[in-house]
């Protein structure tokens, strides 16, 4: 669950995260210049075939990610069929598929820690607000550690709720969930301070 990066190394994995992100920005901006349905379709076919080139398993995972767009595509198709405006509809749908497809390609072929390094780098200007950029790194590590704890706690609480009430857990468990994690936060911050703290 924890990352969308594709586990098997592909050619694209070797390219540095920065160059991939820059290329993605340029390519996505270029997509918005396309105003012919034929060109739009060709580009989206090209993007989808890039997945196929990187292997059958890669293709399957990539298409699965793009498939998440289907509700929007369904709305667009219905809309443009009703309006009898096919060329415009084709441009928008193919642009959506190409843009999301390209971006997912970068996400799937870049390690999470490289991506987070980029994130911390982009955050460096926050130093002018008197916040240490290092604290961003600590905060990211804390979030990644907290998420499984929170999910685990929520599951325990909903089991406990079901065991006692016989009914499925409702939104009520959010109260004990928030209280227990707030108490955890207090202990974590004391521990952090005891280990030298975060530089101001």
């Amino acid at each position: 669950m924890l990352s969308l990066t594709f586990p098997r190394q592909t050619l694209l994995h070797k390219i540095p995260a920065w160059s991939k992100l820059m290329a993605l920005c340029l390519a996505t901006s270029a997509l918005f210049l396309i105003n012919a349905p034929v060109l739009g379709t060709m580009v989206s076919v090209l993007v989808v075939s890039a997945y196929a080139v990187l292997g059958h398993d890669f293709f399957k995972r990539g298409i699965g990610l793009i498939w998440g767009l289907w509700p929007f595509i369904a709305i667009l198709v219905i809309w443009h069929v009703v309006r009898n405006d096919y060329p415009h509809g084709i441009i928008i749908v193919t642009r959506l598929i190409s843009a999301v497809g390209l971006a997912n390609l970068v996400t799937m072929t870049t390690r999470l820690d490289d991506m987070i390094d980029c994130l911390v780098y982009v955050c460096r200007p926050i130093a002018i607000f008197g916040i240490s950029p290092k604290s961003v790194g600590i905060a990211i590590a804390l979030v990644i550690r907290f998420i499984p704890i929170l999910i685990d706690r929520a599951q325990q609480l909903s089991l406990a709720y079901r065991a006692r009430s016989g009914k499925p857990a409702s939104w009520r468990i959010i109260f004990p969930l928030v209280f227990t994690v707030l108490d955890d936060a207090e202990r974590v911050s004391i521990a952090l301070r005891a280990r030298g703290g975060v530089q101001e």
Binding site: T28, T107, A139, I140, I149, L150, A154, L182
Partner: protein
């Protein structure tokens, strides 16, 4: 310093957890993802600056490739998808919710929390959300607004919940409600 950092990280994780476990929040099959409730709570509990920072941290990690958005979505593709406005709107919404919460310090915690969540987590969140949808789907603003209306009742319920939860926390752990300091 350490405590606000930990609280910011904790609330970023809470937004994520609320998106990953929607089943605890689903009321009568209404299309409710609890994620925007997390955004509202960031503002009502942590206040403007820290709440905004928590939401920013959440979207930063989501864009970096953690599948934290409701439905296990993540990665840069989100910036090209029709929901881009909501991604960008999350930190703004949390900030405004916190800002309104801080300004309403004369009101009780629950009414202040509900009003702040309605303004920040619904009105302010919908603005970039609708603009983003209009831009990506090639529709006018009013057409995109129409696409959003089914979510409105659920969001109002979440704003009320955010007020109730903030009130409960204020009673139990008053020092944790940073928006009231």
């Amino acid at each position: 310093m350490e405590r606000s950092l930990v609280l910011v990280a904790l609330f970023a994780a809470l937004i994520a957890a609320l998106g990953l476990i929607p089943k605890i929040m689903l009321a009568s099959g209404a299309p409710i993802t609890a994620q925007s409730l997390g955004i509202m709570l960031c503002g009502t509990i942590l206040g403007a600056k820290r709440g905004g920072a928590a939401a920013l941290l959440f979207i930063g990690l989501t864009l970096a490739g953690l599948p934290l958005l409701a439905g296990g979505r993540g990665g840069f593709g989100l910036l090209a998808s029709p929901t881009v406005g909501f991604i960008i709107g999350f930190p703004i919404a949390a900030f405004v919710t916190g800002f309104v919460m801080e300004r309403l310090s004369r009101l009780g915690v629950m009414p202040a929390g509900i009003i702040a969540s309605l303004i920040g987590g619904v009105v302010v969140l919908y603005i970039p959300g609708i603009i983003g949808m209009a831009a990506i789907l090639g529709k006018t603003l009013s057409e995109s607004f129409l696409l959003m209306t089914p979510f409105f009742p659920g969001d109002v319920i979440k704003a009320v919940l955010a007020g109730v939860i903030t009130q409960a926390i204020y009673r139990g752990r008053p020092h944790m409600v940073l928006s009231r300091h």
